[in-house]
Structure formats: structure tokens, C-alpha cells
């Protein structure tokens, strides 16, 4: 389990990195935290001609709040996010999700951009990005473009990033007042990828639910935004009955796959259970 040979580049600037990607014409891989890519290399399941390592580009690691968004440089470590007071205050759902990402030694190296660009449908960050309807910024030879979460994930491990583009920033809307959030996950072991996880955010508006946001991990080839379930809550409020109806609706909105850890039926069942639990807890947080 040793990686195959590759050319290695550690550019000091983003422009240099983009030039390298262009030079290899799709045969290069971007190396961020490496917590998913390195295992694939060690198993020789990935055989890029070159690695373009972003770890020497300091300008890609930052957390800042601007225009109602919290913006993360793609190379911001998950560990930094976990301990960031700004994140705890302004995107608490992301903070909660971070505790579910592998283990602390994984989060030391793992990055937000890497996790989202890798697009593992069982991972937590893509679910949060989808639930919050966040955006990513992709930089390519033609400049920058902003891609909404719903347009980003294409299928299992595949995004709408072009081969010559690099994900440079992740933008999540700051959590509004009166909001409650929760991430409910079921995994076989602590730190494993989710069998199913549900990211939920609800915004209380008096007795009504001003907005509800729900997305899945593990319930299909991409994170699924559960819009039809959200609508039930936005229409009927955060009553037990509405939460129950939303949870049952959620299961109808997903098309999970079967694998050795869980059948599609079981994942669908978990989608209901965890949606109900996430919403119930988010409601409690919103009322706190």
C-alpha cells in the first residue's frame, strides 16, 4: 500500500497552482488535507500524473464574516473550524457537524474545501453546505465563479468543478436570530462516515416556522436537500405533527443505495428517524 509515482508540486500561489492544473490537462489532482486522497493513493485506486499541493498557499486559509456570510478559505482546517469562536457564534451547525468529521487527528489536516470538493455523499460538510444553501467559489483560467450548493454536487465523488478549476472558498449564510439547528447522525462507529445524517436548521418566527432547512448525508449519491419536507414545516409550523409529517415526507425524497453497511430500505427508514430527531432538537435550540 504505497502510492504510485507522481510529479509533485507545491505552488506558493493560486495562480501557479492553476497554471499547473492547466499544464497537466486533467491528469493532476489537487491535494488539500489529503485525508481522503492519500488513502486512495496508497491503495493505488487513484493514479494522477501529478499532485498539486495547496498546503503551501497561506492565503487559502481564513475565516471571515462578510455580507451576512461566513467565508472559509478552502484550506481552512476542520480543526480550526472546530475551535473557532466565530464559527461557534455564526454557523453553529457547522461547528456541530465538525465534531462528526472523523477524529481530531483527521481534522488536524482535513480541510473544508477538500471535504466539499471530494463530495463523499456520506460526509457531513456537503450536507451542511446543502442544508444552508451555501455557495462555493471556484477559480479557473477564466476567473472566479460562484456555484450554489444545489448546482455543485453531481454524483458520488463528482462535482461540477472543471478539471482546471480549484475550489477556493466556501460561503455559508450566517445563522439568523431565532434559529435552531441540529445534526443527527447514525454511524456504525464513532468517527465513521454516516450511514445517514440529517442537517437541520429552523428559524422561529413567532409561532410560525419562518424557514426550515434540511439536507441528508448517506441517503443517495449526493446530499439531498429535503425541500418538500421543509415546506410542510414552513406551512404548518414546528408542531410535533408537522415534524412527524416532514420526517415521513423526507423518506420519500431520497433514493439511497445499498452497501455492506446498510440496505437502501434501512437508510430510508433512518432518514425519517433522524429527520424527526434533528427537527425536534433544532426546535428546542430555537426556543432556548
Amino acid at each position: 500500500m504505497k502510492p504510485p509515482k507522481f510529479d509533485y508540486h507545491a505552488p506558493a500561489s493560486l495562480d501557479e497552482a492553476l497554471a499547473l492544473l492547466r499544464r497537466y490537462g486533467g491528469d493532476a489532482k489537487v491535494l488539500a488535507g489529503g485525508q481522503s486522497l492519500m488513502p486512495l493513493l496508497n491503495f493505488r485506486l487513484s493514479r494522477p500524473a501529478a499532485l498539486v499541493d495547496l498546503n503551501r498557499i497561506p492565503s487559502l486559509a481564513y475565516i471571515e464574516e462578510r455580507d451576512g456570510q461566513v467565508r472559509f478559505g478552502a484550506m481552512t482546517r476542520q480543526r480550526t473550524i472546530e475551535f473557532s469562536p466565530l464559527v461557534a457564534r455564526r454557523v453553529p451547525l457547522l461547528r456541530e457537524a465538525t465534531k462528526w468529521v472523523g477524529h481530531l487527528p483527521i481534522r488536524t489536516r482535513g480541510t473544508i474545501g477538500g471535504s466539499i470538493a471530494h463530495a463523499d455523499p456520506s460526509a457531513e460538510y456537503p450536507a451542511v453546505l446543502t442544508a444552508l444553501d451555501g455557495e462555493v467559489v471556484a477559480r479557473g483560467p477564466k476567473g472566479e465563479r460562484v456555484v450554489r450548493a444545489r448546482d455543485f454536487f453531481v454524483t458520488y465523488l463528482t462535482t461540477s468543478l472543471e478539471a482546471d478549476e480549484i475550489l477556493v472558498e466556501v460561503r455559508l449564510p450566517a445563522t439568523p436570530a431565532g434559529a435552531g439547528w441540529a445534526l443527527e447522525e447514525f454511524a456504525r462507529r464513532h468517527g465513521d462516515f454516516a450511514i445517514v445524517a440529517i442537517a437541520a436548521l429552523v428559524v422561529r418566527d413567532g409561532a410560525r416556522c419562518g424557514a426550515a432547512r434540511l439536507a441528508t448525508a448517506g441517503a443517495g449519491p449526493v446530499p439531498v436537500r429535503l425541500r418538500a419536507a421543509e415546506e410542510i414545516l414552513e406551512r404548518d409550523g414546528l408542531t410535533d405533527a408537522a415534524i412527524d409529517a416532514a420526517a415521513r415526507r423526507a423518506a420519500e425524497l431520497v433514493s439511497p443505495d445499498s452497501d455492506i453497511h446498510a440496505s437502501a430500505d434501512y437508510r430510508r427508514h433512518l432518514t425519517t428517524v433522524l429527520t424527526r430527531r434533528a427537527l425536534t432538537r433544532a426546535r428546542t435550540v430555537a426556543h432556548a
Binding site: M1, K5, R189, I260, Y266, H269
Partner: protein, 772 residues
């Protein structure tokens, strides 16, 4: 004692060893479960920079014979397991070509340049298909895929069943398991051409067995072969067989004249290390209306994989199941039948508990079901049937003799420690909150420290009933005790030193234990089957006792007193009643090596003794495990809240180490019950080839474990020791399974399959059901 170096990164594992001119070997492994080898072309790989050699099965065959596990068992078919495949491959991961290079990186690169053409053969994926009349054969030479069958019978189980008040039965399934030592298997061979001597360092549990076997396969006199097991990162039975890689590196070192090292990676470990269990058991238990057991019968079919392994053979796991199904209970009528069936999967081998985790799961499940049918408390039903102290020694239906045991006492004690009635009361409570609490009991007895009367494996060609110890007081007065045993984390350097120090009368810090090196200790086989404390400890007692007598005789001579008037303690011989008249062990040792001038007339100089010990039958260890679990019926997740072990391993040498063995075993048993499963698809492809897919429990999945020691010394072994290495894994799966079944009792659900994955539980809970 071993802790200080291991805590500072100063352990020396095989992967840590480097010899000059050393080559690294990588094996090209079959991607097919069953295929004919059409052609193997290594030329493109041989010319790559850094590659020293590429060797095929045909090329290595002139340097090493295939491994063949012999047995006297009637109807057994041995198989030939070559170091590199010849003719055909029989499981995914079987080694086909060895590439030797300057680094593992280069060797792996070169594997990709080797051109092997395979012609796929029909895959024998399950025992059911393997036993069909027209099934393709895994081994043509065996003439059948059924490599062995065996039965144990007492009384007339069929007749007893017919007349019983209640018969409970089911088809039970315990899926395939992997041992997953944290250190992958590794070996390094060094051939000294001038001396004609070979040294093999291997991460093995059985250096002695390896040396004998390799001498034969390599045509090398055994005294020219040295096998060293340095620090070894866990064994659990997985490292107790002779592996083709060990044969291969020896042959390759001779072939190239250079040291050859193989460090298995995790993928290779999951593909090729011996696996466990994988049995289907049809079993029935008959009881009277008052809960008295009448009869037990079982038919057990094991998937033994592609090869019968040396020295244990393919019988080791499945025959143990039928040997131990009756457990610690009086079973007047018994019939257990077993079949070991070859398939295109990794070979089956011994793993911690061997057979008994499966037999205990089945019997304890049946006992619980009988109790439920009778409306009896499961503890009460067990107490009615456990063998009582006045019935010991007791001959079990399979012929095993239980020399001793505290079966009733351990159950009563465990019941009290867990506060059974309290748990039962609490159980009725939290169900309201949508969580199901269950309590599960498992009682077992196991044979440990197996002596020469009983082969460690049925019909085994070798006897493993003895072990030796050489204890030497050096001229400086320090003590070196060497053994044919090997250690993979059991703390022998501490426990065996304690035994020697106590018996000899030396200070603990003066005793150093050496093991795991065939050149350093007396002849022995190694460490497996919960034998080291019993057999190695017994040999240590005998050798230390002999030395003590000699030391006292020398001391008496020097002090001009009678030996009876001397005591030896803390490395000091003292005249009784005269503490100022004393000699240190160092002074006695000096005299011993000084010769005739300072020794009693006629006494042989030196202060060293080698003794061997054979416990003949072996001794019974027993325990009761009780698990308290919580089942979330919505997520189908199971959490083990509490776990109580009340164990009797006889006289305890070191309580911390006993506790560590018990809890470590429980962890593996809980993993087996809830998480761990080797999965192959219908084409014989391994689907659990990484630690993301084969789930070893972390600290977050395991319960706190409370251990109570009963410490009833064995009446039949020297020192009163009983083995403790495996027991934790024997009881835990059954206790957890019974606890889950107990939790789900209100839903009328029975468990018959392990591990209880969330998905399996989901299917059970989704099934239309009838409440009891």
C-alpha cells in the same frame, strides 16, 4: 517489565528490523477467487530499476515444498498450500509472484509490470454450493470439498428429544470474522551461505512450530534454522499458523543470497490472514417442564476457506464447536456433527476462543429460549443445570474432562454484581421512553493449558502438550529464564518473572525472561490456546524449584549449616533465626561456577536447570458474563451499557494482567457481536478489504467492564494456574446476543445471527411479528 521499552518507542517489531543488502518483497496476489494460471510473464518487471528478482510458483517450487497439514483424523483430506500458487489460484489474495526490490515502493511498482493470464473457473462461494454433487472442486486431489467430518455422541439425543416437554431449536449463523492484529504479519529471512544457516524473524506466535515445519519444507536441518519472534503486535490465534509468506521469504533469501523482508500491509492482512467462525449451526435443546436439560443435538457446517492450514488443519474451529456445545451443563444426551467445507475464500484458522464463541452463542441462546418458553428466569434455569462442584471431575459428552470449576458460584456472583433483580426492575421502566433494555447471561467453561493427552487440534500430527523452561542464575547473581513460548502482549516478561522469582526466592528485578527465540530457549512450540501460564509457568516452577534446592545446598555448604536451616528469599539465603548469617544469591552463584573447591563433594558446577512440564489433560477455566444493553428500536443501534465478568482462572499471578486479558477478550467479543464481519460476494471477492469496512470497535463503542476474580486454584496443574487468554471472547458474543434478545422479548423477536448489525436488526424489527 516490557512496558518501559514499548512506551518509549523502543520495541522491536519485525518491520523495524533492517539488515544490510536487504531486499523488500511484494507479492502479486490473485484478483480471482478461482482461476487457472494460464501464463506468468515476469520479464517486463525484472528489468525495472531497483528490481532484484521476480519469482513464480514454478520457480520457487524447487526451493520449498508446499505446506501440508497432516492429521490422523478419519476422512480428513489434507491440502497442499504452496508458497506461491501453481496451476491454479483458490482465493482472492493468494500469492502468485514475488517481486524483490530495493524498496517496497519499487516492488509494488514492479508488480504492475508482471503479466499473469488467468482463466476463470467457477467459484465455490458457499458451503451449500460446495457440498452439491456437481460442485467444482477447490482441490481436485481431495476428491471432495468436504475436507473433514466428525461427530460426538452420548446417549440417544433423538429419543430424548421425542419425549421432552419443550424443544427449542433454530438455525444459527455466526458470520466470518477477522482477528485484525494491529501489527500486520511480517517476516524477514537471512540466509548465511557460508554457514548454511537461516534465520527467520517473524511476527509469529509459534517460533518453535515454525522451525520444525520449515526445516522440513526447506530441506534444512533444524539446527541450522533459527526462528525469532521479536516484539509482536498482537496474535489472537491469527499468527499461530505457518503462512506461505514465511516459507517464501526463506526460500527467496536462499535463492538470492540476500536478506528478504516482507511487511504485510492491511489489505494483505484482511485478504490472507486466517479468518474465523463462519458456521451455520442447526441446533435443538430439549428440557423438562421444570427446566432440566435432557438433550442437545446440533449439525454444524463450517466454511473453512481454500486451504487446510498447518499445523491446526481445517478442523480446528468446527470440531471445537461440537466439542464444547454442551458447555458447563449436565447434558445426558448429546449428538454433535460437524463438517468442514472448502470454498474459494481465505483459509479458516484458530482465533481467540476457537469454536467456543460459536458454541457458547448457540447453547446460551437455546437455554434462554427454553427459559422463555417455560416462563422461567434464565438464571434460574441455568442454576438448575450447571455442573455442581460435587460432580467434578466431570466427563463431558465429547470426552473432555473438567477437572474443576466454579460454574454455579460464578453465575451467582455475576448475578449479584450486576444487581440482576434491580436491572430486571429497571428494564420495565425505560421502555416507556422508547428504549429497550435487556440483560444477557452467558456461562462457559473452556479447556486451557492442554497437555499431551489431548491433541490441540483433532488428529493433529504434532503434540503440543509440553513446554520447557531454562532458568539460569548467572555468576553475577541475576537470573535469566528462557522459554520456548512467545509473547504478543500477554506480559510474559512480567508474569513468568514473577513465577520464577517467587519459586526461586529471587528479587523480581533480578529476573529477566527471554522467549520467542528458538536459539535462546528450550524446545517448545509457542503461545496459543491459553497455555503459557499453565504449561510455561509449570515448567518455570519445576526449573526454579530445582535451582532453589541446589542454591540452598551450596549455601548450606558455604555457611556450614544444614540446607533445612536455610531460607532463600529476595535473592538472599539466610540461616533461620540468625539473620546476620546470610549469603547473597550472587555469592552462591560465584561459588557454583567456581567449581569443586567451593562446592559440596561431587556436586556438578553451575547454577542452571531446564525442566519440561506436561499437564497431561489440561485444566478448566470458567466464567459468567452478563451484559446489559440498550436497543434503540428506531435507529436499530445497540449500546452495551454494562458488562460484568466473573472469571475463575485459578491462581492469579498478576491481577492487572488477568483483568487486561479478560477485558481485551470481551472487547473482541463485543466487536464480534455487533460490528465485525468479513463479507465476500458471490464471486469470492472480499468486500471488507479495509478498516473502513471491517469494523474493529473503538473506545466509543465499548462498555466499561467490571471484572471479578474467583481464583479457585486448579487441582491438577502445577501452581494451580488456569489459562485466561481467550475466555473474554468466548462469553461476550453470547451475553450481548442474549441481552439484545431479552430487550426485544416484548416484540417476540429471537436472534439467531451474529453480528447483530443495525441493518439486520432493522430487518428483524420490520418483519411482521407476533407478540408473546
Amino acid at each position: 517489565m516490557e512496558d518501559a521499552r514499548l512506551l518509549q518507542g523502543q520495541g522491536r517489531f519485525v518491520a523495524d528490523l533492517t539488515l544490510s543488502r536487504m531486499l523488500h518483497v511484494a507479492f502479486l496476489r490473485s484478483p480471482h477467487a478461482h482461476a487457472r494460471l494460464v501464463s506468468v510473464d515476469t520479464r517486463p518487471a525484472r528489468t525495472l530499476p531497483g528490481v532484484a528478482a521476480c519469482v513464480t510458483g514454478d520457480e520457487i517450487a524447487t526451493h520449498a515444498r508446499p505446506i501440508r497439514a497432516e492429521s490422523k483424523m478419519a476422512g480428513y483430506h489434507a491440502t497442499e498450500f504452496p508458497p506461491l500458487a501453481r496451476g491454479k489460484v483458490r482465493f482472492v489474495g493468494e500469492a502468485v509472484v514475488a517481486v524483490l526490490a530495493e524498496s517496497r515502493y519499487v516492488a509494488e511498482d514492479a508488480l504492475e509490470a508482471v503479466d499473469v493470464r488467468y482463466a476463470a473457473l467457477p467459484v465455490v462461494a458457499t458451503p451449500e454450493t460446495a457440498m452439491a454433487g456437481d460442485a467444482p472442486l477447490v482441490h481436485e486431489a481431495a476428491g471432495s470439498n468436504v475436507l473433514l467430518s466428525r461427530a460426538f455422541v452420548r446417549g440417544d439425543a433423538d429419543a430424548a428429544m421425542a419425549g421432552a416437554a419443550v424443544v427449542v431449536g433454530d438455525r444459527f449463523r455466526f458470520h466470518r470474522h477477522a482477528g485484525v492484529t494491529m501489527e500486520n504479519r511480517a517476516c524477514l529471512a537471512d540466509w548465511n551461505t557460508g554457514a548454511g544457516e537461516l534465520t527467520l524473524w517473524s511476527s509469529t506466535q509459534v517460533p518453535g512450530l515454525l522451525r520444525e515445519a520449515l526445516a522440513e519444507l526447506l530441506d534444512l536441518p533444524a539446527h541450522r534454522l533459527r526462528v525469532v519472534a521479536p516484539d509482536v503486535g498482537g496474535g489472537f490465534g491469527v499468527k499461530s499458523a505457518l503462512y506461505p509468506e514465511e516459507v517464501a521469504v526463506c526460500a527467496l533469501a536462499r535463492l538470492t543470497g540476500r536478506p528478504v523482508k516482507w511487511v504485510g500491509d492491511r489489505r494483505e492482512d484482511l485478504l490472507t490472514s486466517t479468518q474465523a467462525w463462519d458456521e451455520t449451526i442447526d441446533a435443538e435443546l430439549a428440557v423438562d417442564a421444570d427446566g432440566t436439560i435432557h438433550a442437545l443435538r446440533a449439525r454444524v457446517v463450517a466454511d473453512v476457506g481454500a486451504y487446510s492450514i498447518h499445523p491446526w488443519t481445517a478442523s480446528i474451529e468446527v470440531v471445537q464447536v461440537i466439542s464444547f456445545l454442551p458447555g458447563p451443563y449436565r447434558v445426558p444426551h448429546y449428538r454433535g456433527e460437524a463438517w468442514g467445507v472448502a470454498t474459494n475464500k481465505a483459509p479458516m484458522g484458530p482465533y481467540r476462543g476457537v469454536g467456543r464463541p460459536v458454541s457458547t452463542f448457540v447453547t446460551e441462546a437455546l437455554v434462554d429460549r427454553a427459559a422463555r418458553r417455560l416462563g422461567m428466569d434464565p438464571v434460574a434455569l441455568r442454576l438448575r443445570n450447571l455442573i455442581r462442584p460435587d460432580e467434578l471431575p466431570y466427563r463431558s459428552p465429547s470426552g473432555v474432562v473438567w477437572d474443576s470449576g466454579s460454574f454455579v458460584e460464578s453465575l451467582e456472583r455475576a448475578r449479584d454484581v450486576v444487581a440482576y433483580e434491580h436491572v430486571r426492575a429497571a428494564q420495565r421502566d425505560p421502555r416507556r421512553a422508547g428504549r429497550y433494555v435487556g440483560v444477557g447471561v452467558a456461562c462457559y467453561v473452556e479447556l486451557t493449558g492442554v497437555g499431551s493427552a489431548i491433541p490441540a487440534s483433532p488428529g493433529a500430527a504434532i503434540n503440543t502438550g509440553t513446554e520447557g523452561a531454562t532458568v539460569r542464575v548467572d555468576p553475577s547473581g541475576t537470573v535469566t529464564a528462557s522459554f520456548g513460548l512467545a509473547c504478543q502482549g500477554q506480559g510474559h516478561e512480567t508474569t513468568l518473572a514473577q513465577v520464577v522469582a517467587a519459586e526461586l526466592g529471587a528479587r523480581l528485578e533480578d529476573v529477566r525472561v527471554v522467549s520467542g527465540d528458538t536459539a535462546a530457549g528450550p524446545a517448545g512450540t509457542g503461545t496459543y490456546a491459553s497455555r503459557s501460564a499453565v504449561i510455561g509457568g509449570g515448567a518455570a516452577i519445576l526449573a526454579a524449584r530445582a535451582l532453589r534446592e541446589k542454591a540452598l545446598a551450596i549455601g548450606a555448604h558455604l555457611l556450614e549449616v544444614s540446607a533445612d536451616d536455610l531460607t532463600l528469599a529476595d535473592s538472599r539465603a539466610t540461616v533461620r533465626g540468625a539473620p546476620d548469617r546470610a549469603l547473597s544469591l550472587r555469592e552462591i552463584a560465584r561459588a557454583a561456577y567456581a567449581g569443586a573447591k567451593r562446592l559440596p563433594a561431587g556436586m556438578e558446577p553451575g547454577l542452571e536447570a531446564t525442566r519440561f512440564y506436561d499437564p497431561y489433560f489440561g485444566t478448566a477455566s470458567n466464567a459468567t458474563h452478563i451484559a446489559v444493553v440498550e436497543v434503540d428500536p428506531e435507529t436499530c443501534g445497540v449500546v452495551v451499557r454494562r458488562f460484568v465478568v466473573v472469571e475463575d482462572c485459578g491462581r492469579i499471578i498478576n491481577p492487572l494482567i488477568v483483568e487486561g486479558q479478560a477485558i481485551g477478550g470481551v472487547a473482541q467479543g463485543v466487536g464480534a457481536a455487533l460490528l465485525e464481519e468479513i463479507v465476500y460476494d458471490g464471486d469470492g471477492q472480499l468486500l471488507t478489504g479495509s478498516l473502513m469496512d471491517y469494523l474493529v470497535p473503538t473506545a466509543a463503542e465499548l462498555p466499561p467492564v467490571e471484572v471479578v476474580h474467583l481464583e479457585r486454584p486448579s487441582p491438577t496443574t502445577l501452581g494451580g494456574f488456569k489459562g485466561v487468554g481467550e475466555g473474554g471472547t468466548i462469553g461476550a458474543p453470547a451475553a450481548v446476543a442474549n441481552a439484545i434478545a431479552d430487550a426485544l422479548k416484548p416484540l417476540g423477536i429471537e436472534l439467531s445471527e451474529l453480528p447483530v448489525t443495525p441493518d439486520r436488526l432493522f430487518r428483524l424489527l420490520s418483519r411482521p411479528r407476533q407478540a408473546l
